[in-house]
């Protein structure tokens, strides 16, 4: 088919002509507005069979809207959309699926009450006699899929309670089972790390080699460069450029994404490292983690690295008193902390910025001011009533200091971008004047520009003498930010590294295989 190439209005969709391979999907100058907000002003992308094509851009660049257009969730206001050279109009997600497009969303959309196998095959379950669902066949098919992915997930368990990593795997299994010719992955690796990412890449490559076109959206440049054949950059709802991966550098990409140069991705400032603030000794919880011992000093950033599921979040939650632990001790400033009570942790000067800010860190429908001062309820209250003026003052102080970009303190937090939401969560805890701040995946799902701001913020906290315990699955973040890197593997600390000795290889190795377990 040459129809898509013959259109004269798509010169930028492919900078080098497209003689080498056929376009299976072309979106050309698509626009989409929601009321007065133009989410997409020039959405263009060109996918070929047998390629992995990255789509990069800051949050708000229009990537998600573009994905939703491909998925049939949104109908573009104008522009052309061709699949296999023929114009298409999707009125529903079902139309997109019929056209051979499978989308794996950033937020897994599983049915918590249905089994894993049903989640994969819902709506197209294998049927046996009388047209009834053949459950054994469905189970076998699910097992085969997981076998191909190399992931042991029980097809009969219900999806509720699965880790995000596992949920993503199920999404991918579903897309594979659909035999999709076009696979759109919207930040599939945001919640995966190490082994899981490698496994996903292996699967993606084998799909590519079988002729599938893959659109891969990611904030992680290392992944983009490792995996993708071509890269399309978007900014402010518009197409900027498409490059062959070999012909562009990270710096060049970042420049195109933000339209300016970012001096450095990790502006770590040198902080004065002082007394021990947090001291954890022999912390254990049967079946989850064991014998965890480490210290965090004032002004120090300690990173907990490791794979998803290694028990890092569980350790942090136990320290903060949300989850119980069986043995061991937690000391703050040398004084033992009463176990299993978050209030005691807060009183002792601890703050906790959780991984899932939507669910645990913020009350999405409340205003920015309310959220920022949630932890100050008792200080701000007179006779049990919260003083609105004081609340506003406290909130303003913190949101200005952290440069939260919001139209008004009264807007609901849900209207802010991910990065700014994260700042509000951090503001919430800074207002309590903490000695120790635990941050769990502080930049997950945050765009490059804001990411740097969050890093700068964390670095500044350390300079001010706050002890920081940071859980992160992003290696560059760990290596760039931490003074000390603790690597966890299967519930144990497998390596404790100083900033100077921590390299990507050592951390990855310690995260994915601790020798005494393998031998």
């Amino acid at each position: 088919m040459t129809m898509s190439q013959s259109t004269s209005d798509s010169p930028r969709a492919d900078p080098r002509g497209s003689s080498e391979s056929t376009s299976v999907l072309s979106l050309i100058s698509a626009t989409k507005s929601f009321g007065a907000v133009a989410a997409l002003t020039d959405g263009s992308v060109d996918l070929r069979a047998g390629e992995i094509h990255a789509l990069v851009g800051e949050n708000g660049a229009g990537k998600s809207t573009l994905v939703k257009v491909l998925a049939g969730v949104h109908q573009p206001d104008s522009g052309r959309f061709l699949v296999e050279g023929a114009d298409v109009v999707f009125r529903s997600p079902a139309d997109s699926k019929t056209a051979g497009i499978s989308v794996i969303y950033q937020e897994p959309t599983l049915f918590p009450d249905l089994t894993v196998a049903e989640n994969i095959f819902i709506g197209r379950q294998p049927r046996g006699r009388l047209g009834l669902i053949d459950r054994p066949a469905m189970r076998t098919m699910a097992r085969e899929l997981f076998g191909r992915l190399g992931v042991p997930i029980d097809p009969d368990r219900i999806a509720d309670g699965l880790s995000i990593a596992d949920q993503q795997i199920i999404e991918i299994a579903k897309a594979i089972s659909l035999d999709a010719r076009i696979l759109v992955m919207d930040e599939p690796t945001a919640a995966l790390s190490g082994v899981e990412v490698d496994r996903l890449f292996a699967v993606a490559r084998s799909l590519r080699d079988r002729g599938t076109a893959i659109l891969f959206i990611s904030h992680r440049f290392d992944e983009v460069f490792e995996l993708c054949d071509r890269i399309t950059v978007m900014r402010d709802g518009a197409f900027i450029a498409t490059h062959r991966t070999a012909e562009i550098t990270v710096d060049g990409l970042v420049r195109e994404m933000v339209g300016r140069d970012i001096a450095t991705l990790f502006p770590k400032q040198e902080a004065q490292i002082g007394e021990v603030v947090l001291s954890v000794a022999g912390l254990s919880r049967s079946g989850v983690f064991s014998d965890i011992s480490f210290e965090v000093r004032s002004g120090e950033i300690v990173a907990l690295a490791g794979l998803v599921g290694a028990g890092r979040t569980e350790v942090a939650r136990a320290i903060f008193g949300i989850d119980r632990y069986d043995s061991g001790s937690v000391l703050i400033d040398g004084k033992p902390l009463r176990r299993h009570t978050p209030q005691a942790a807060i009183d002792a000067g601890m703050g906790f910025v959780p991984e899932d800010r939507r669910k645990q860190g913020l009350v999405m429908d409340l205003s920015v001011a309310r959220n920022a001062t949630l932890t100050l309820r008792t200080q701000l209250a007179r006779f049990g009533l919260i003083n609105a003026k004081e609340e506003r003052k406290a909130a303003e102080e913190w949101t200005t200091r952290l440069q939260v970009k919001t139209g008004s303190q009264d807007l609901a937090v849900s209207t802010l971008s991910g990065g700014n939401q994260q700042k509000v969560v951090i503001a919430k805890w800074l207002a309590t004047n903490p000695k120790l701040l635990i941050v769990d995946e502080p930049t997950r799902g945050i765009d490059v520009g804001t990411k740097a701001e969050v890093h700068r913020l964390i670095s500044e906290l350390a300079v001010r003498g706050i002890a920081v315990l940071m859980i992160s699955s992003e290696l560059p973040e760990v290596l760039g930010m931490a003074d000390t890197v603790l690597v966890m593997h299967e519930g144990r600390i497998s390596a404790a590294l100083d900033r100077s000795e921590a390299t990507a290889e050592i951390v990855m190795h310690a995260a994915s295989a601790s020798p005494e377990i393998l031998t």
Binding site: D113, G123, R127
Partner: protein, 344 residues
């Protein structure tokens, strides 16, 4: 690593796992509660399980069972139909009216008309809920009064008595097959068909998907609106069937028939293990829940418990059912988490 890690989860024969699953299922615990109730009552008052006693128990349950199955379909989709009492009233009174107007009308046709009438009323609920995008609680609270109002206007002070109807119609709820009342067998067939539908057809599984996560269901390309309308229509149809049964079983039908049933039905469904927020539970559980609640009334009477306390006990049962459910799901979640942490 993956091969070994999979072993602890995937092992165990299918049969033993299936049996294990039955014992931890919600249906089993409701059934066990029912069996316990019957045994205790029988020990205290041996007349409880006499031939007539069993027959009464089954007959009394029949109407609620059929309605509970219909309601379960709706609740599984994360909706609720509060108008079922009024639908039952309209279809029961309609049945009486039919026999009054056409005394020779075939009984089978009366059943069809009653079910079709119920289907229309249920479909109206479904259409308003999906089109308006307003919680079903509010919409069906409205139609509860609207349908009841129509019933009042239609019936006025008129009542139809069993004597006005063909003898064959009344005997439906008297005659037995192998000692089991005919309409109880009909109810059992309804439960079996609905259970197979919900367990083993794509449409049935779609209802669970819709209730489990409506937005996700839309993304999957499941026709959420038509499935929801379908669930309401099925509920109306079954309630219509129950209405015809009602006219056959009880002495009189009038403006007030079925009033207040909706809460008892919702209670039965919830006690039967159907989650009030949708997505899980089975029609079998709902049916057993309905039998449990009706048996409870009979049993408490047989145990000489004051009528006033009976309602309070039903209330305790509802809360207990929900608490047990919550504890069980927390325990499973914890078990799964620990086993997965080991397998990472």
């Amino acid at each position: 690593m993956s091969q070994n890690a999979s072993a602890p989860i995937l092992h165990g024969t299918t049969a033993s796992r299936a049996i294990g699953r039955i014992f931890v299922s919600r249906e089993f615990s409701v059934f066990a509660a029912l069996a316990l109730l019957i045994i205790i009552t029988e020990v205290v008052n041996p007349r409880f399980l006499s031939g007539q006693g069993v027959k009464d128990l089954l007959l009394n349950s029949t109407i609620f069972v059929v309605m509970a199955v219909g309601q379960a379909l709706v609740i599984i989709t994360k909706n609720v139909d509060l108008s079922v009492g009024s639908i039952l009233g309209l279809t029961a009174f309609g049945t009486g009216s039919l026999f009054a107007a056409f005394p020779t009308i075939p009984i089978a046709l009366v059943f069809l008309i009653g079910m079709a009438f119920g289907a229309v009323l249920g479909a109206i609920n479904g259409f308003i809920v999906t089109l308006a995008g307003v919680p079903a609680l509010v919409i069906t609270l409205g139609t509860l009064y609207i349908y009841r109002g129509i019933n009042n206007a239609w019936a006025g002070s008129k009542q139809y008595f069993i004597g006005n109807q063909p003898a064959a119609f009344g005997t439906l709820s008297v005659q037995t097959i192998g000692g089991i009342p005919t309409i109880a067998i009909a109810a059992l067939i309804v439960v079996i068909i609905a259970a197979i539908f919900m367990f083993a057809t794509r449409a049935g599984r779609d209802l669970y998907a819709v209730g489990s996560d409506t937005d996700a269901a839309r993304l999957f390309g499941i026709k959420v609106n038509s499935r929801t309308v379908g669930a309401f229509t099925a509920c109306g149809t079954l309630t219509g069937l129950a209405g015809v049964f009602y006219a056959s079983r009880f002495n009189s039908v009038g403006a007030d028939t079925g009033s207040g049933f909706e809460l008892q039905i919702v209670a039965a469904v919830v006690v039967g293990g159907v989650a009030i927020f949708g997505g899980s539970g089975t029609v079998t559980g709902a049916a057993i829940g309905a039998v449990l609640l009706t048996t409870m009334t009979g049993a408490l009477a047989a145990l000489n418990v004051s009528k006033f306390w009976q309602q309070a006990i039903v209330g305790v049962l509802i809360i207990a059912a929900i608490l047990i459910d919550r504890i069980l799901s927390l325990r499973t979640a914890r078990k799964l988490r620990v086993s997965e942490a080991r397998n990472v």
